[in-house]
């Protein structure tokens, strides 16, 4: 079910089935709706069996990178020598992405159940849920749900009588996008500056407090309960022909569509169907100009690329972009792309952790050069400089924030050269851009 819009026939609500249904928020309400069945089942299985079930489902990480979840879990040491940790990434700060927020807001127990299953699967006794600082309302809901879950036996020293101990610590972010990056998040939880860490070592070897750690996104973990309850095979069946991308995915659609919001569809659904059928297409009298399909960190797509794009990991890559977090920013023909790209660059420049030279100085110079172009002071060499800089910012840094800044810029210059030309040739009125 979508929220606040009514569910569309093209949707396939699994995670979002109870969005808008306040009754699903409580422990009892969740149990009444079939909740915690998946966890109980998991507790009756060995660690390996749970991992195998999730592997069989084909579930991939919903935080952006799409890494197979079962495989990630299997990297955790079989023997628990040091404590193992599960970290749930609820930092959701990617521009244009707002799906995890809804999961927590309506179905906090869906998340807690998934977390507990994940913890069991990786041999962890403690889960940190790192929630974006601005989610004050959701934070309250989550705390209340954790409380109830302890009382209801879903958390604590002896989860549902299984003898397993599982605890949840809810940790609030303090307003830094970079803390959504998994290793920066671990630093942040440890009380350190949120700098991404060098890999290796990978988190499964030395993560939080230098102990084996797995990090998963809210949506990823929320799916686990359903997979355990209904079976990996059932989940894998939810796809449109591409066995590499299975299950349902929440898309947060924003921008110039008639009905923005979260839509849950089966992987492989067509992008056009989502934009035009479910979201009602462009505003009256407007046409599509561009889409950023995976949050703000991926290349911009042209209408031609959108035309026959399938919404799954491989489908979007085939069209020159990435599925990312599933936050779709849709822009119509009223959009000034140079300006939008500058705004994105400015976001990344503000959020850079500043370790890497290319990112610290590069995001700032990218922003400044784009501002200069917008101000009508650009030269043609500036575009070369931007592209050269973007090359140095892509695949050269500790984390991919730097790449994320470069991707929209490069794709905009390559795919929409006329927009830049208009400013450089002084055809277009300069824009005031002071921050």
């Amino acid at each position: 079910m979508g929220y606040p819009h009514p569910s569309h026939a093209g949707e396939h609500p699994v995670l979002s089935k109870h969005f808008g249904d306040a009754g699903a928020r409580t422990f009892d309400g969740w149990v009444k709706r079939g909740g915690y069945e998946g966890l109980k089942k998991a507790l009756g299985m060995t660690r390996d069996q749970v991992v195998e079930e999730v592997k069989a489902s084909g579930l991939r990480g919903r935080g952006g990178a799409g890494f197979p979840t079962g495989m990630k879990w299997s990297f955790m040491p079989k023997e628990v020598v040091k404590p193992h940790y599960l970290v749930c990434n609820a930092d959701e700060s990617e521009p244009g992405t707002f799906k995890d927020r809804e999961i927590i807001r309506w179905t906090p127990h869906q998340l807690i159940e998934g977390c507990a299953i994940g913890a069991h699967a990786i041999g962890a006794e403690r889960i940190y849920i790192y929630i974006r600082g601005e989610f004050t309302h959701e934070h309250r809901i989550l705390l209340a749900a954790v409380d109830e879950a302890y009382k209801g036996g879903a958390l604590g020293a002896n989860v549902f009588g299984s003898g397993r101990r599982i605890d949840v610590v809810v940790h609030r972010g303090a307003g830094a996008y970079i803390c959504g990056e998994e290793t920066a998040m671990m630093n942040s939880i440890e009380g350190k500056r949120g700098n991404p860490r060098i890999k290796p070592p990978f988190p499964a070897v030395a993560g939080l407090w230098a102990c084996p750690t797995t990090i998963n996104n809210v949506e990823t973990l929320a799916a686990a309960g359903h997979i355990l309850r209904q079976g990996g095979a059932w989940y894998k069946g939810l796809c449109r022909g591409n066995p590499k991308s299975t299950g349902t995915k929440l898309f947060s659609v924003c921008g110039h569509v008639q009905r923005p919001g979260n839509y849950e569809v089966v992987m492989g659904t067509s992008m056009k169907e989502l934009i035009y059928d479910m979201c009602g297409g462009m505003r009256p009298g407007r046409t599509l100009k561009a889409v950023i399909p995976g949050g703000s960190s991926v290349p911009i797509m042209t209408p031609a690329e959108v035309e026959d794009c399938l919404l799954d990991y491989e489908g979007v890559v085939a069209k020159g972009s990435m599925l990312g977090s599933g936050g779709m920013i849709v822009m119509d023909d009223s959009t000034d792309l140079v300006y939008q790209v500058m705004r994105l660059a400015r976001f990344y420049a503000h959020e850079s952790c500043a370790q890497c030279t290319q990112c610290r100085e590069g995001t700032a110079w990218t922003t400044r050069i784009l501002e200069k172009i917008l101000a009508g002071k650009g030269r043609r060499e500036d575009l070369d400089l931007l592209l050269d800089l973007a090359d140095n910012m892509t695949g050269k840094t500790i984390c991919v924030l730097s790449d994320s800044c470069a991707a929209p810029v490069v794709s905009a210059i390559r795919k929409f050269p006329a927009e830049f030309d208009a400013y450089i040739s002084r055809e277009k009125q300069p824009v005031m851009v002071t921050a």
């Binding site: 995001t363 700032a364 050269k396 500790i398």
Partner: protein
Amino acid sequence: MTAIHDLDYGTPASESTTLVTLTIDGIPVTVPAGTSLMRAAQMAGIAVPKLCATDSLKAFGSCRLCLVQVEGRKGFPASCTTPAEQGLQVVTQNSKLAQLRRGVMELYISDHPLDCLTCSANGDCELQDMAGAVGLREVRYGFDGANHLKAEKDTSNPYFTFDASKCIVCSRCVRACEEVQGTYALTIDGRGFDSKVSPGQMEPFMASECVSCGACVQACPTATLMENSVIEAGTPEREVVTTCAYCGVGCAFTAELRGAEVVRMTPYKDGKANHGHSCVKGRFAWGYATHPDRITKPMIRKRITDPWKEVSWEEAIGYAAAEFKRLQAQYGRSSVGAISSSRCTNEETYLMQKLVRTAFGNNNIDTCARVCHSPTGYGLKQTLGESAGTQDFDSVRHTDVMFVIGANPTDGHPVFASQMKRRLREGAKLIVADPRQIDLVRSPHVEASYHLKLRPGTNVALINSLAHVIVTEGLVAEQFVAERCDVESFRQWREFVARAENSPEALEDVTGVPAAEMRGAARLYATGGNGAIYYGLGVTEHSQGSTMVMGIANLAMATGNIGREGVGVNPLRGQNNVQGSCDMGSFPHELPGYRHVLEDSTRALFEGTWGVTLESEPGLRIPNMFDAALEGSFKGLYLEGEDIAQSDPNTQHVTAALEAMECIVVQDLFLNETAKFAHVFLPGSSFLEKDGTFTNAERRISRVRKVMPPVGGKADWEITVDLAVALGYPMAYSHPSEIMDEIARLTPTFTGVSYDRIDELGSIQWPCNAEHPAGTPVMHEQTFVRGKGRFMLTQYVATEERVNQRYPLILTTGRILSQYNVGAQTRRTENVQWHEEDRLEIHPHDAEERGIKEGDWVGIVSRAGETTLRARITDRVQPGVVYTTFHHPESGANVITTENSDWATNCPEYKVTAVQVMPVFGASEWQSRFRKFTEEQLALLDQAGAEAQG
């Protein structure tokens, strides 16, 4: 930055024993697994450009200048963070990499001042080097973008300047403060382009938690953090490796010079005690060496009320010798003696005792170790068989449980404290036994599992109850004890500590530590893996100091925590050469190598070489000298580097004794407190002005090398030689190395030691002989030095210094980081900015009861005397306990300390004095007299200068 470039491998060495072979730019190289590609490349002779990496810090991977390509892998991994693997083929140079690196440098320089020619780091700047290395020619961004060029300079620290406009945000400073120093004073504030280095929370350095260790300054690749001495004098041209003359850590330094002027002291990377780190004293507080207060001409006077008269060396030494001879003729051979200092080199202290034993013909030689670690010598000799700590500092890297007793390493032994903290951050556990909350108890990323806040004076009760737990809960390392220790002594000890009277429950009212905590701590120490005890003067300076040292050794033996890496019994020596001065026979009953003067064979050995007959009766200890002086039988004293009038307990008693003597010869840098009572002043030389060796707390013998000529014209060893000759005993040495050769000939634990051998090995831990040709990092490995380890019974006896209604508080004393002991050196440097006066720490409860507010003047009265200090109200001390430092003479801390002392060695009970504290308005009577006397003496000194000119 350091000017004289050691090869920087970029990342620390890997400790792996597995080797892997890879090729770098076609050159095969074999390295330990886990070595970074950058380090491997440097080992193959290829320098990969780098800015954020330096081999004293963990790889951080932030500048992205060191990117390389690896055959068969995609992308551009950073060579500093990528580990070498078998068979990798690495390319460090090609046109793509060159383009990327130029791109990075271009970004740096777009936000950097272009004033290289006038910059203090010109020629000594890694940014400059890298711009050259990557062939940067243009900056396409221009220079009119936003930048940090207007950032303000922070000059709050007296020793270094922080010029933020030059900062490249490489975080080397931040990481040095965390990884090397462990203070966590720095962070990067803000994000993105606005990121900047922030001391504390964007405070000036001096207002932050910074302790001015200088690690960040050393780590900074640019001129952003720069020593003021270099800013003023310019970059150094040459360097001399030497050893710090402050605390017992014994850090190795390179003294960096420009002409004959020292412009910087940089901790030496290859120094085995400090591994390239130091504290504020060693690195920065060396300016005293050229302070105008230095006395550079010999002086004499008949009476202490006479003005000083500058004379030639010959006259001064002739006068002193004649006086000593006169006194001996008049009052007997034993009427003169000498006190040497742990500040002096081994060679100097050796010569001092030799002079006393040969030229004076008695054994009246003592040393300041009397007042600090004499119980260590006694206690460890009785139990383990050798008067020295058992480990090297690096041993702590293998320690699982550190037990710190009566020591405050972050202040007293800061560089070793940093190493301890590093290990603690890795997960080792910590137990602290101290009446006061020392820093280690809780500091960034370090927290003690147990802080046993015992009452001062109850150490032995504490150690007995810990032993009780170990014995009664079955935690004894039975096999170790059976194999290595004297069984009968163990049986007796076990029976003794197992008695109910020694249980934690029985003793908790005595120690003030809850029984459960004592039990927990004992269990942790006995079962937590490698347990190592580190202790300081809080153990020794008590009426039961020697008992406590033995109690510690008992505990280590009973738990098998001795004889391998990671464990041991480790006295943290206060001064640079406490260990050495004890080794060199500076005690009245011992010849070098801790051999008793009563032993005929020992005396015969020395008599053979020295060509005199030696006195077999032990001589006077320091306190006996004072008593004898007041009695009238002790008349002449030769002191080198020791200021007894300030450092010894019961000052009024000491000064009365000094006044009663007829010839006091002081050899020192400054007119110290004792010199105000002296008749002959011989200008001594600082550690920068002479050759010699120091032996640090880990028995490590390191070279002190002459960096500049002695300002008084003679090195200290030469003065002692001249005095001996004038007294009629010939000494012929042309260099201190010959003195060491003589020591080596006469001392079994030193037979392998020579200056050449030290130069070869860097430093040597004694014993160094045929059995241990490269020295001995860990002692008692197979057997104890005395054969079987001996358990000693340690009955707790409360000190006579008890609190009562009149003296209801216990005063205990200590020191702080920035000042060194009596402060003669550090008070003459900018270090006073951290500690301009000694203050009395008092618990809020006790303060309130007495109506004392922060900063108020308070009078402190003991059975011995009275002084005044300003109060600092803090809950670092417990109710009933007050605390002060003793760095400033005027404070008169030792006016209040009593003459109680260790039963075995007479080490004074500095750590326990019953006192009353009350608000007052003015200085104490002693302080008024002190001021007046000081004024008079300074006037008499002025007359010396005036007369010489006139």
